[in-house]
């Protein structure tokens, strides 16, 4: 076995023997289930829910296996394993998803038990990446590093991983259930578009607690999560979540898949009635059994102890020299690098969005390189973001230039984090069995059109998000510009929305007008950008702020004037 040595890496939860035994047993269980399916002992109807519980979907070209990256954090060793699996069992690449996971697109059913066995060697699995259960809990990709962090979300995400795994009440929910946690002032986890969104805070005494938002979600019926309780103390964290899930289990609809998510329940019951039900259940549950013991929290917290930062001056002469000498690096620094809470360190976002590239895809060579760089520059750990990028969270400012040069040589050095080239796109009709239209070609065309890094910076913060069907895996509802692919009598069309916002000021975008063709869509996006640049009050006014101020009319007029 090739387990990660406890204590050898910073910021990674290390499995204990119970975790390992559980995952190993699940692998062997699935191996037998696959054997029984291939021999005909199990029908497809019987087998399908089993394979889905192990992250295995059947897509257009082959099986797709979704690997859990708990709260988006993994070690260099784990990333190398993902790369090795991609080479051996897939086609030399993987796709990072909006749930901070990784998907392989060309998997064989008969290989899956061996793949899961290899994953278990590095404490990874594909559990809770599909099915009507609590899915992989997501959090801030800057967790444990961000200057504006108040509470470390990894601790509570890990507690939820342990709490929800194989929880008998959570295994057959009415529908899938997604939870996100943010413990910083800025919301980098899009908490209010989740079934449960948790904002971790501290009270006047410095004690951690949580605001619970419930009933957010995208898809066919988008809703912004509603505040159900402003403050839940740490000791009640699990009890309150269990109360919500119990109410959902009891009242959530199982007769209609389109009305089965908790967002519909909250909407139909009304916030007041839903909250009352949750509070009553919470009052019944509250007690020693459900009290989150501070010692347990502390035990988990120790897994996420800060890495051994050097005592450094915050100012780096080496960085300043490189910045002055290399404008391309200076641009990347300004766009992709964020402030770290430790002096002399920085957070680097590795863009998986080269101009004209496929958002979220990384070759196995690129994965190996990032694993090497994580070990060399960031204590051997990295994060996956819900925007389909990677993050090295603890890079010395002195090392940033070397890091960027190595990234740039491997087409990983794009300076576009948060800019128009940083497009979220679902796999769409190129891979997905549910899609109605392709997403990736449009993302490629748009990012190629706006390839110039300086033009992107001039435009500023502007998130484009593309989904190939109404299930909204590409988060189009909350894109500053959202694009939804639709099929009209066999032809792909794209419906454009504007004004979406995934941050704490969450907003669902509005449809701008009739859907357009793929070619028209790229021109329409450029027209929207031109109208924004012509109308913004100054360079600091973001696209969504200009949109709020001037309304939709000038944008509509430009795009649809010729109709």
């Amino acid at each position: 076995m090739n387990h990660i040595a406890p204590g050898a890496r910073a910021g990674i939860y290390h499995y204990d023997e119970i975790d390992r035994q559980f995952v190993a047993e699940r692998v062997e269980q699935f191996r037998k289930q696959v054997d029984r399916r291939l021999s005909g002992e199990l029908t497809e109807e019987e087998f399908k829910p089993i394979r889905l519980m192990n992250g295995l979907y059947l897509q257009l070209h082959a099986y797709m296996l979704r690997i859990a990256v708990p709260y988006g954090v993994m070690s260099a060793t784990q990333l190398r394993k993902l790369s090795a699996i991609g080479r051996r069992y897939d086609r030399g690449y993987g796709h990072f998803t909006t749930r901070q996971n990784l998907q392989y697109n060309w998997i064989k059913l008969e290989d899956t038990p061996a793949i899961l066995h290899e994953l278990a060697e590095v404490d990874m699995h594909a559990l809770q990446t599909s099915g009507n259960c609590v899915r992989n809990v997501t959090t801030d990709p800057f967790v444990g590093a961000a200057k504006d962090e108040v509470v470390d979300g990894r601790v509570y995400a890990e507690i939820l991983r342990q709490w929800t795994t194989m929880h008998p009440e959570f295994t057959y929910l009415p529908r899938k259930f997604k939870i996100a946690i943010s413990g910083a002032e800025s919301d980098r986890a899009a908490v209010r578009i989740h079934d449960v969104g948790l904002l971790a805070r501290r009270n006047d005494k410095g004690e951690p607690g949580f605001s619970f938002y419930v009933g957010g979600g995208l898809g066919r019926s988008p809703f912004v999560g509603k505040l159900v309780r402003e403050w839940v103390a740490q000791e009640d964290f699990v009890a309150y979540l269990e109360a919500i899930l119990r109410v959902y289990n009891q009242y959530g609809r199982r007769d209609n898949i389109y009305k089965a998510r908790i967002k519909i329940l909250v909407h139909e019951l009304g916030l007041e009635k839903f909250t009352q039900e949750v509070e009553e259940e919470f009052a019944r549950l509250r007690g020693p059994k459900y009290r989150l013991d501070p010692e347990i929290v502390e035990g988990v917290r120790q897994h996420f102890a800060p890495p051994p930062f050097e005592e450094l001056p915050d100012h780096s002469e080496a960085l300043e020299r490189a910045k002055a000498a290399d404008p391309a690096f200076a641009n990347w620094l300004a766009v992709n690098v964020a402030e770290h809470k430790a002096p002399g360190y920085a957070i680097a976002t590795i863009s998986l969005k080269p101009a004209g590239g496929i958002p979220g895809d990384a070759t196995c060579d690129q994965m190996d390189l990032v694993a090497d760089l994580a070990e060399r520059y960031s204590f051997g750990e990295l994060r996956v973001t819900h925007v389909q990028n990677l993050v090295l969270a603890h890079v010395k400012k002195d090392d940033l230039y070397d890091l960027w040069k190595r990234l740039d040589a491997a087409e990983l050095g794009s300076a576009n984090a948060g800019l128009i080239g940083d497009i979220i796109a679902c796999p769409g009709l190129d891979y997905c069995a549910l899609a109605n239209a392709r997403s990736i070609p449009l993302a490629q065309a748009i990012s190629a059109r706006f390839a110039d890094p300086l033009r992107q910076r001039t435009i500023g913060e502007l998130g484009i998000k593309i989904s190939g069907c109404i299930n909204a895996c590409g988060h189009h509802h909350v894109g500053a510009i959202g694009i939804l692919g639709v099929d009209k009598k066999g032809t792909e069309y794209y419906q454009i929305t504007v004004g979406g916002d995934p941050t704490l000021t969450t907003a669902i975008g509005d449809i701008l007008g009739p859907a357009v063709t793929e070619t028209e869509a790229v021109d329409a996006i450029e027209a929207i950008v031109d109208v924004y640049l012509a109308n913004r009050s100054d360079e600091s006014e973001r696209f969504i702020d200009t949109l709020k101020r001037v309304g939709h009319a000038p944008f509509k007029e430009r795009i649809y004037a010729a109709d």
Binding site: R37, S39, G40, H61, W106, L109, L429, A435, P441, G490
Partner: protein
């Protein structure tokens, strides 16, 4: 009769599935044999397709050979039969964004 010849007779259908053990896209060929290439797929007049589909589905499922078995429409384009929808065109070829992958790469 090949796919190219048969599609000229009017609106046709082909039958497709994913192979159970590896997920590979397969098509029902002549003589009830499953093939990997659309060019070798048997084409059936619309009215006959359902009659062919039902027993082929039953047999493939019974033998644990294939899953997700259905018929799809085929049209003629420049004298060549092609799937009518983008979805099926992508299944028969591979991702449009990775021409090095899927059947188109073979």
């Amino acid at each position: 009769m090949s796919a190219k010849d048969r599609s000229k007779e009017g609106s046709m259908k082909a039958i497709t599935a994913n192979r159970l053990r590896d997920g590979e896209v397969v098509f029902l060929g002549e003589g009830g044999v499953w093939v990997e290439s659309f060019a070798e797929a048997a084409l059936f007049p619309r009215a006959e397709a359902d009659g062919v589909l039902a027993p082929a589905k039953e047999k493939a499922e019974r033998e644990q050979f294939a899953v997700d078995i259905y018929a799809f429409e085929v049209v003629e384009q420049d004298g060549v039969p092609v799937p009518a929808t983008m979805r099926e065109r992508i299944r028969t070829a591979g991702p449009t964004v990775r021409l090095d992958l899927g059947k188109q790469a073979a």
